[in-house]
Amino acid sequence: MSEVEVRDLTVEYQTSVGWLPAVAGASLDLRAGQITGLVGESGSGKSTLALSLLNAVPAPGRIAGGTIEVAGVGDLTRLGGKQLRKARGGAIGYVFQASQNSLNPLKTIGRQLLDLGRSHEVGDLRALIARAKDLANRMGLDGDRVLDSYQHELSGGMRQRVGIVFALVLNAKVLILDEPTTALDMLSQASVLDIVRKVHDENQLSTLIITHDIGAISEIADRLAVMYGGRIVEDGPLLDVLRRPTHPYTKALIGATARITGDVDGARALPGRPPDLTTVARAGCVFRDRCPFAVEVCAQTEPELETFESGRRRACHVEPSTVLTGPVLTGTTGTPAAVGEPA
């Protein structure tokens, strides 16, 4: 059963040359009890997609088409005003990057929880605080102390966990985490991911984790969706996608991941640079310029995201078997850090 069903979602931004899509025709399901990882380079549209799940695309952006059905709430793109406000936080919890200051610096965590409760017209604020403390304790925080603290008194990892408390304290069934491990050291990364897995399992959530770190996500996700140029280009069960990537971009992305063991030269950077709003191809496949498998049809028609075997979808004109057995991109070697950086 899907908690969230995204269909043909298109999000546009106004630029000097008109409205351009940052997310084009994306379809995605978030199922109860599953953690979905959404990976892609900077500018691939993954954060825009995540914000649009709350119908909160920042100006000058707008949702231009498609639907976002959330169980128990309805189509979020049609909601406005108080209904939309209550769906945010109430039905869907959003957790910010640890490096971001997602809390009011002038108020204690506890008082901000009360603000949250009052904003959502929670009758029993005492129970809300008790639940928050319980959540905090189960994530290895000292609930009493944390609720009495100001944001600047907490470390990055603690803020991250407090962010999860805020996201879940109203019993939201959908949890979205934006780059949850970015800006954390390795140990904090691991513990945050463990905690996410734990609260996810305990509360039977539908969780979406947005990241550019395919290594981190592979630790805990059940499903993987890959974005490029505003499109979801491939998705499926995590291990299956990692073992048998059928989209050239997925394959390149996995090939570019450096591993702690083994030669760093084993990681191969993608040649070229990711497109932005203005440079993304208007016709044909958005990845064709960097694709070693590109054929003639790629320049003319954009491939649809289609199910090619049970539970797996891809948007590519080339046969899956060709991609699977074909070469990893042969570009620059030994500079995995250059992924996504200007050439």
């Binding site: 914000l51 209550k86 945010r88 910010f96 610096p105």
Partner: protein
């Protein structure tokens, strides 16, 4: 609260040191003035027929020292008298203690300055919020322009403009003094009414002088808070709009306490021109007149008081920070 008390004590100590530095500076400044004001005075007394002892005593009463003493004992004598609240005697109002002149002038500066600050704070901050929230609309742009305009116009031009428009052209408000001559000073309604009427233009001048600063400071502060992560976060958590507005307001107003302390200095600087224009007997007017008549003890006293006021304003602004911002408090 102990942390607060410790902070307060530290601020006061630092303030006292600053006052001492200013006092010392003033002393040596008056001392370094060409013509040695004390000596000139001394010669004048001798010429008017006093004997040397009388003349020296008189000079000592005025300045707190005579130039026959060594520099150090002169300085010590000056400090000693200051500690007793004795600022010396005025030269132009012969024999009148400087402290009495200053106490008489003080309310005519402090009350209009504070009223002007309050008015411009309320209007400027509100306009700043509007200018920030509506910054892409025409009204927001106009407000910002008005802020830059008033922040840029010098005090004397503002004061003269007010005078021309509201007195010369429309004759709505009186042009000079603190009240009309026919009323007896005291707690009676006609006198107070007249005082208020006379205070309107100076207060407006002070308000306009600082309005632009408030507006521009608040606008940039609100714009930067609006871009903060926690504001987006509160929106994504479904926090009620009223609560979010409070979050924005409280965070945006913080930097303005610094502006408050600074604008206090600007106001006093403006008081020279504003009090001169409206012939208003405040501190600025006193200082200006004492410069004109080379009344050095009054100069030093007024200068000292203005400095102390600004230092106190800074301490107050700092304490406000401590009360509001937990990052400073703990």
């Amino acid at each position: 609260m102990t942390a607060f008390a410790r902070r307060l004590a530290g601020k006061l100590a630092a303030g006292l040191v600053m006052v001492w530095v200013v006092v010392t500076f003033t002393f040596f400044l008056v001392h370094a003035l060409p013509g040695k004001p004390g000596d000139v005075q001394y010669e004048q007394y001798i010429q008017s027929g006093m004997n040397a002892e009388q003349a020296a005593a008189k000079v000592k009463a005025i300045y707190g020292y005579t130039s026959h003493d060594s520099m150090l004992s002169q300085y010590g004598g000056y400090l000693g008298k200051l500690l007793h609240g004795d600022l010396g005697q005025s030269i132009s109002y012969s024999g009148v203690p400087v402290s009495r002149l200053i106490w008489a002038a003080l309310p005519w500066t402090v009350i209009p300055v504070l009223s002007g600050l309050l008015v411009s704070f309320l209007i400027g901050v509100t306009a700043g919020v509007v200018a920030a929230v509506r910054r892409s609309s025409r009204w927001g742009g106009l407000l910002t322009v008005s802020g830059s305009l008033f922040a840029g116009v010098p005090a004397f031009v503002l004061a003269l403009l007010l005078l021309v428009v509201f007195h010369t052209e429309w004759n709505l408000l009186p042009d000079a003094g603190t009240s009309d001559i026919q009323y007896d000073p005291g707690w009676n309604l006609p006198y107070i009414g007249s005082v208020v009427q006379h205070a309107v233009l100076p207060v407006c001048a002070y308000a306009l002088l600082s309005y632009g600063g408030w507006l521009l400071a608040m606008k940039s502060s609100v714009v930067s808070v609006l871009g903060d992560d926690f504001i987006l976060a509160s929106e994504l958590r479904g926090i009620a709009p009223v609560t979010r507005a409070r979050y924005i307001g409280r965070n945006a107003i913080l930097p303005l306490f610094t502006v408050l302390a600074l604008s206090f200095g600007v106001m006093f600087a403006g008081s020279f021109f504003i009090e001169d224009t409206f012939d208003y007997p405040g501190l600025g007017d006193l200082l200006l007149k004492s410069i004109g008549t080379r009344d050095y003890p009054v100069m030093a006293g007024a200068f000292l008081l203005i400095t102390v006021s600004i230092i106190i304003a800074n301490i107050l602004a700092d304490l406000c920070y401590t009360l509001i911002d937990p990052r400073v408090r703990r």
